[in-house]
Each structure stands twice: as C-alpha cells, then as structure tokens.
Symmetry: C2
Subunit: 291 residues, 2 copies
Amino acid sequence: MKVGFAGLGAMGAPMATNLHRAGLLQAVWNRTAARSQALAAQLEVRAAASLADLAHDADAVVLCVAADADVLAVVDELAPALHPGALVIDCSTVSAATAHAAAATLATRQVDFLDAPVSGGIEGAERGTLAIMVGGSEQAFERAQPILQAMGKTISHFGATGSGQATKATNQIMCAGIIRAVAEAMAFAKAHELPLDKVVATLGQGAGSSWYFVNRAPNMIRNHYPAGFRVRLHAKDLAICRAMAAQHGVELPVVEAMLQEYGELIARGHGDEDISTAYRLKAELFERQPD
Amino acid sequence: MKVGFAGLGAMGAPMATNLHRAGLLQAVWNRTAARSQALAAQLEVRAAASLADLAHDADAVVLCVAADADVLAVVDELAPALHPGALVIDCSTVSAATAHAAAATLATRQVDFLDAPVSGGIEGAERGTLAIMVGGSEQAFERAQPILQAMGKTISHFGATGSGQATKATNQIMCAGIIRAVAEAMAFAKAHELPLDKVVATLGQGAGSSWYFVNRAPNMIRNHYPAGFRVRLHAKDLAICRAMAAQHGVELPVVEAMLQEYGELIARGHGDEDISTAYRLKAELFERQPD
C-alpha cells in the first residue's frame, strides 16, 4: 500500500515518520514546501510538488491539518487526482459536518473517507501510541488497519462518517469541565493553606479524581504550565464542539464558560501554555481578596 | 480508651459498629432515642440518656451529624460534661469555620478537637474503609489513631483545625465540575448517536477520564441513578464550599452552576438519586431540539 501524507506539523511529521518506519510512506506534502522537502530528504521519500502530485499514484492519503477549511480545501484538490478505490484518512480534529462534506466530495470519485482524529499529543505521535477515533464504513476501517496501526495504539471504530470527530469532541468537552473544576478546587485549597502535594496524593485516589487532577494539578502547585495541551488548541477544539451542538440548537454551558476563560488567558499571552494555566484566573480571585 | 458516639445515621451507625468491633465503643447517643437504644441493644453497649451522660466518663467522643448547627449544638452540650484531656472527633461534613468554633468551645475545657470528615459512602463506613481527612494538632491526631483506624483506611492529616473540612470541600468542588462535564459530554455523545458503551470504554483510558466518567457514565447510559452520592447531600456540601469561599470574598462558578442544577433536580423529585442524574437536564436539551 502506497501512502501519501499531507500536513507535516508538530503531529503530522512524526506520524508520517511512523508510516515510513512501517514501509508505507511514498510521498509527503506540506503547504510550506520547505518542510516537506526537509522531511522527504530525511526519510528518502518523494516531496510531492502539489496535492494532485501526492494523490495521483497513492492508494491512500493521510491528512493532518489545522482547521475545517483546510480539510475541505485539501480534499477539493486531492479528489480529482485520486484513483477510484483510493482512501483518504483525515487525522485532523474538525467538525463532524466537515467529515460529512469531505466524504461526499470523495464519494463522487469512488474514494473512501475516514475521519480519524487522534489523542495522545506530540509524545503519542512520536511513539506511535496515539488513540485514534475512527468514523466511516466498516470496510474502509478494515482497509485502513495497516496505516492506523503504524501511527496509533488504541484504534476504535465508532460508526459512520463523523462519529470519530463526535467521539473526540465528547472527550474535549470533558477535558474542559475537568480542568476548570480542578483549577477552582486547587485555588480553594491554596486559599485554605492546605499542603497541596498531600491533597493531590490523597484526593487523587478517591472519587473526585481525574487524569487531569493527578497529572496537571502539580503544574498548578509549581505555577508552571509547560505544554502539554495548549490553550489555543483546546480553544479551537471547543469552538468545534460549540458548532456541533449548535446544529442541534443546543448551547454547552461547560464549553462556553471555558471558551470565555481561554479567551482571557490568550489575551494575556498564555495561549501556548498547557490548559492547566486556567488555574491562574482562579488563584487570582482568592489573592485579590485576602481574608 | 472509652469512646462515645453521637449521631447514628446511615454513616454513623456502621462507623460506631466498627468502633465496637475494635473494642473501643462504650456508649451511643442519637437525637431520636429509639435508634440509639436499638443499636445499643444490638452491640451490648450503653445507650446514653443525654449528651452529658455520653460525655461524662468518655475519653473520646465521635460525632457524625448532619449540619453545622448540629455540630455546634452537640459540642455545646458535650463540653461541660467532658473531663479535661478528653478528645472530640467530628466526622460530619461542615465548614472549617464550624470546626474552629467547636475547637474554641472545647479548648476552654482543655478538650482537644479534630475535624475529620470522611469519604467513601455507606459502603466505606460499613467496611471500615473510609478515607478520613483530619485537621487539628499533631498530638491529638496521634492520640486518635486507634479510633480513626477502626473506622477508616486512608487517614491523612492536613494541618491545623479546619484543614480536614477544607480538604473535603476541595474534593466536593471537583466532583461538581466533573459530573457536570461528564453529563454534558454524554448528552452530546448520545445526540450524535455514538455507541456509548464503547465511548466510555475508550475515553475512560485517556486524558479526559475521571472516576465519575468510568463509574457513573454507565448510569447515564441506562438512565438509572441509584444512590450513590445523593444530589441532596452533595448540594449540602456545595453550600458549605460556597460559604467557605465567600469568607474570602470569592464566588465559585463551578459550584454555583451545579447548585443551580441541583435545585432544579431536587424540585423535580430527583434529590435522592445519585448525582449522575445531572445527565437528565443535559439530555433533555438535546431531545427538545431534534435536528
């Protein structure tokens, strides 16, 4: 199977590298050509001159780009050049509606589409241990196995087109509410002069615990927020959740509250810190009002 | 060490029973005398006629009552009858301010006080596996060890008087934000027709996971909310968190939002369900607006 990879950012480059290690990578493309040329030289694969060039002899193309509009633009350029029976796997985090639109465009060319957003961060991309949440036909999911397994570890199929994105969005909603609660609780604990390391060690074993509490409350204690999961990226994901809920006529209060706090954090220059930086706003409230 | 126990509710009765098993329980008291008489007969210990009667020959008294006013009233009645050097351990969940007031009253009689709220529910109380979060002097904490170890498993000292209650409040804030986020995320997932069991199994292993997601999202899937942690009791605890934050001039947005939702749930008759019933309100939003 000959695979092309489009979008060589912080996630895409190591994912493409893992496809290369599995003997699957044929060519790479990136909007900024210098980046694709550098990776192509390093891996000794072809740097495609255009998306059409990437597509024309590929059995499958994997995308990892930034936003909904990017996915749609890339798919529009790929579609005419792909041969019937090819497969496009989109690992970007975008809306389910974008997945549906991309799938419809590709279907006119008899090309299959899978939405396959990932989680696990840059570390997971490098180690090939990403969780991959897949939507699309069962048959396309089966065909994609060698590609998905080269990039990830926990690979799950959630149903028809869009269901991978909906599952990822579900996860991002939980991250928002949890980090917000942990930040509020830790600021409360600090204001009450509790021994914070001991609070994390003890409550981390109980029913109020969460991955974010155990793994990111220590950032709050040290007041240091190395990325991590950047505020800017989570804010982008939450805007997708907002748009998806809006299609049902529903507003998501947890998401709305977090988007507002992220807006404040980005305005203050904390957009590239880990989302545990949400603690800053909460701690400040207590510090402003010494008892 | 001769121990009296005051407050034989759903938590207090099994906690007193564990003190009896450890050979420490001398007498019991309850506001409704029938309950103390029944437990006293069962355990073959003394049913104290009054709090003064419970106190007069006790080395230590353990309290487990409902609210701040109850703790203060009980301590006021115990104090004159306790002998100097006795110890009062309050396992109720109340505010740090109540702990300070109780400690001050007892200090006038040279009686030590520990605030020692618990978590782990009725099951933990019965099995003697409660987590106990303790505030008070190091010396009183050491003296209390045989009593605390008879009732709990993870016993941690967080500092001076009130720090046990502050730690418990920290935990209750996290529970609020997490269950709210899980409810919003699960309603979103259902609206997108995802296979919910698979969503829980997969996301439960990732960074968006939490104890509540893994253990209570299944309630949401079945739309059945056996207690559990009752809405009514968590609402009571959150009101304590609100009052404690207000002493710093701070409002806790996560707590305020959850108190509002709990008010709605209680008004609709769901106050004795597990807090995962918060899902009802979220699912309803999506159901009202079919896409």
